[in-house]
C-alpha cells in the first residue's frame, strides 16, 4: 500500500518538465482568454461595450476598401498571383447566428431553431444575438439558455446579449419616438462580431482564427430542413446569373444568399399568419 507523507518534499523538477509546464500554462491562459471572449454573454451599457463608438448611431467611419474586381478575386483564390497572401483553404466551419429581441415568442422560436440545428446535423457553432433585454430579462434568458439550450450541444451553442439598437430617436416633449426593431439585426451582428469574435474595423479587420468560418445569418422564425455544407455542387437551384459564373462554394469575396426577388407587386415581408 502506498502512503503519502505530506511533509515529504517533492524532488526538483527536471528542466524539460518545467518547460512543459510553462508551455501548458501559456496554452491554458491563451485558451481561457479566447474562450472567455468567445463566450461573452454579459450585458453592459452601450458605451461600456463599444470599443470605437461604433454602436452609436451611424457616424462617419473609416473608409472601407472596396473589393477588387471579381476576376482578380478569382485569381487570388486560385492562388495564381504570387503577390497575394494565400488564405488557409479550410472553409468548412460554420457559425449560425440569428438576431432576436427578448419577447416570449422569440424564446420558443429560438428553442426550435437550436433544436433543428442539432436535428438536421448542421455542424459548427450557433449563437442567439438577443438585443434590448432589460436587467431581469437578461438574467432570465441567461438562466434558461444555460439550463435548456446549451445542453443540447455543449460548447457549440451560445448566447450574446446586446443593448437595444432600434431606437433612433428618443421621445421628447415635441417629438414622437422613432423605433425600428429591425435595426437590431445589423447592429447586433456587428456587435457580436466585435465583442465575441474580436473584429474591429480599425485595428483588427481580420481575425485569423475566425476569418474562414462561414457565418450564416438567419431570421429567428426559421428552421433547418437540410444542413449547409460548403460544397453546393449537389442539388441546388440557382438564380440565373450571366454577370459572373455560378459558384458552388463560399470563399473570401464570394458570399451567397437566398434570392428575394420572386414576386409581383409588393414589398410586404410577412403576411397575416
Amino acid at each position: 500500500m502506498v502512503t503519502i507523507n505530506k511533509k515529504e518534499r517533492r524532488p526538483p523538477l527536471a528542466w524539460s518538465t518545467k518547460l512543459n509546464l510553462c508551455a501548458l500554462l501559456v496554452n491554458v491562459a491563451f485558451f481561457t482568454v479566447t474562450y472567455a471572449v468567445y463566450q461573452r454573454t454579459t450585458f453592459a451599457s452601450p458605451s461600456a461595450q463599444t470599443p470605437n463608438n461604433s454602436d452609436c448611431p451611424p457616424q462617419q467611419q473609416q473608409p472601407q476598401q472596396h473589393y477588387a474586381s471579381i476576376s482578380s478575386r478569382e485569381s487570388n483564390n486560385n492562388n495564381n498571383n504570387n503577390n497575394v497572401v494565400v488564405d488557409s483553404d479550410d472553409f468548412s466551419h460554420f457559425h449560425i447566428i440569428f438576431s432576436t429581441g427578448c419577447s416570449p415568442k422569440q424564446h420558443w422560436q429560438s428553442y426550435l431553431l437550436f433544436h433543428s440545428i442539432v436535428e438536421s446535423g448542421q455542424t459548427g457553432h450557433a449563437t442567439r444575438i438577443a438585443s434590448g433585454c432589460n436587467h431581469q430579462q437578461a438574467e432570465d434568458i441567461q438562466a434558461v439558455f444555460a439550463k435548456e439550450i446549451q445542453p443540447m450541444a455543449p460548447d457549440r451553442f451560445h448566447l450574446h446579449l446586446t443593448p437595444e439598437f432600434g431606437i433612433i430617436q428618443e421621445k421628447t416633449a415635441t417629438q414622437k419616438a422613432i423605433y425600428f426593431h429591425y435595426l437590431n439585426k445589423p447592429y447586433g451582428v456587428a456587435h457580436w462580431m466585435e465583442h465575441a469574435l474580436g473584429y474591429n474595423l480599425r485595428t483588427t479587420p481580420t481575425v485569423p482564427e475566425h476569418d474562414n468560418t462561414i457565418v450564416v445569418l438567419l431570421d429567428p422564425d426559421m428552421v433547418f430542413l437540410r444542413p449547409f455544407v460548403n460544397d453546393f455542387s449537389g442539388r441546388e437551384i440557382w438564380t440565373t446569373r450571366t454577370s459572373y459564373p455560378i459558384r458552388t462554394n463560399i470563399r473570401h469575396g464570394f458570399p451567397m444568399a437566398n434570392e428575394y426577388a420572386y414576386g409581383t407587386s409588393s414589398d410586404r415581408k410577412e403576411e397575416d399568419v
Binding site: P58, P63, Q64, H66, Y67, A68, H95, P104, K105, W108, Y111, S116, E119, V144, E148, P151, Y182, L183, P186, Y187, A190, M193, L197, P205, H210, D211, N212, I214, L217, D219, V223, F224, L225, R226, P227, F228, G234, R235, E236, I237, W238, T239, R241, S243, I246, I250, R251, P255, M256, A257, N258, E259, Y260, A261, Y262, S266, D267, E270, E271, D272
Partner: protein, 284 residues
C-alpha cells in the same frame, strides 16, 4: 390574406429609388464616393444583390458587410420609412458598395408555395443543378407530407406565413408561447395534431379558422399548377408541425418529470377537423 405571391419581393427598387433621386450622397459618406454601386448595371444588381436570409459569407467578409450594413441601416431606413424591408435594402446596399456580389439561390429557403425552391421536389430534374446525375421524377402528392428525402428539401423553412390545407393550419402567431421552452406549462401542453401522409390528396381548399369561409388552393397563373400548390402547402404544414412536435417532445423528455408530460397530438386551431357542409360551400 395569407398566401398571396408577395413575400420575397425585393427586386431592384431599393437600388433605383436611391440612384434615380441621387440620394446616394445621403447614405454613402462623401469620402467613399464614387461608390461601385454607381457603376452597376441592372442585370448585375438583380443577379447578385437581391439578397435575403439566409446570408452566408466568410467571417472576414461578413464583418465588412456588417459594419457597412450598420452604417447604412438608419439612412436607408429614413429613405423607406414605412417599409419593413428597409434593413434588407441596407444589407444589399452595403454589399453593392463593397463590391461583394452574392451567388443567389432559390433553394436555400422557402416560406410560401410560390417559391422556386419547391422545384427541388415538384419539377423535372433538368430544372435543377444536380451534379449527382441521378434522375428523379417529381414527388407524387401522396408523399408530400412525410415522404420527401432530405436531399430534395431546401435548407431552411421560414415559417412567416400561414400554412393551411383543409382545416389543418399553422400560423406562428396562433401557437401558444408555452408550446415549447416554458417549464411546467410546456410539460402539460399537447403537441400539434399531425396530418395524414396523403394530406395533399384529401383537400384542394382551406377553411379560414376565424371566418370559417372556404378558399380554394389554386395554381400560380402558369408558374405552378394547382396540384403543385396543394402539394407544397401540405409539405409546409407537415414539416413545420413535425419540427415543432419533435422539439417540444425533446423538451419534455429533458425537462419534465418522466411519465408526467403530455404527448397527445391533439392541438388544432379549429374546433374540429371535420369540414361541415356549410364550410364546404361558403366561399371567401
Amino acid at each position: 390574406m395569407h398566401d398571396s405571391p408577395l413575400f420575397v419581393f425585393l427586386g431592384s427598387n431599393w437600388y433605383y429609388k436611391i440612384m434615380n433621386a441621387n440620394m446616394i450622397k445621403t447614405i454613402i459618406p462623401p469620402e467613399e464616393l464614387p461608390s461601385p454601386a454607381q457603376q452597376m448595371t441592372k442585370a448585375q444588381i438583380n443577379e447578385n444583390y437581391a439578397a435575403g436570409p439566409p446570408y452566408l459569407a466568410t467571417a472576414r467578409d461578413f464583418f465588412q458587410i456588417a459594419t457597412k450594413w450598420r452604417q447604412l441601416a438608419v439612412p436607408v431606413q429614413k429613405q423607406f420609412p414605412d417599409n419593413i424591408l428597409a434593413e434588407m435594402f441596407a444589407y444589399s446596399w452595403a454589399a453593392v458598395h463593397l463590391n461583394l456580389p452574392h451567388q443567389l439561390a432559390h433553394s436555400f429557403m422557402i416560406s410560401s408555395v410560390h417559391e422556386q425552391g419547391f422545384h427541388l421536389m415538384d419539377r423535372a430534374p433538368e430544372t435543377i443543378h444536380n451534379n449527382d446525375n441521378q434522375e428523379q421524377p417529381p414527388f407524387p402528392a401522396k408523399r408530400m407530407c412525410r415522404g420527401i428525402p432530405t436531399s430534395s428539401k431546401p435548407h431552411i423553412l421560414h415559417y412567416c406565413q400561414r400554412y393551411s390545407i383543409g382545416k389543418y393550419i399553422f400560423g406562428k402567431h396562433r401557437l401558444p408561447v408555452t408550446f415549447v421552452g416554458h417549464g411546467e406549462e410546456t410539460c402539460q401542453s399537447p403537441l400539434l395534431r399531425e396530418a395524414p401522409e396523403n394530406l395533399a390528396t384529401l383537400y384542394d381548399f382551406t377553411i379560414d379558422p376565424d371566418t370559417h369561409l372556404r378558399k380554394n388552393l389554386t395554381g400560380g397563373g402558369g408558374v405552378f399548377t394547382k396540384q403543385e400548390h396543394i402539394n407544397r402547402m401540405a409539405f409546409l404544414f407537415c414539416e413545420q408541425a413535425a419540427a415543432l412536435n419533435r422539439a417540444a417532445l425533446y423538451y419534455k423528455q429533458q425537462h419534465c418529470q418522466e411519465g408526467e408530460y403530455n404527448t397527445a397530438k391533439t392541438m388544432i386551431f379549429h374546433d374540429s377537423l371535420e369540414v361541415t357542409e356549410q364550410e364546404r360551400t361558403n366561399y371567401e
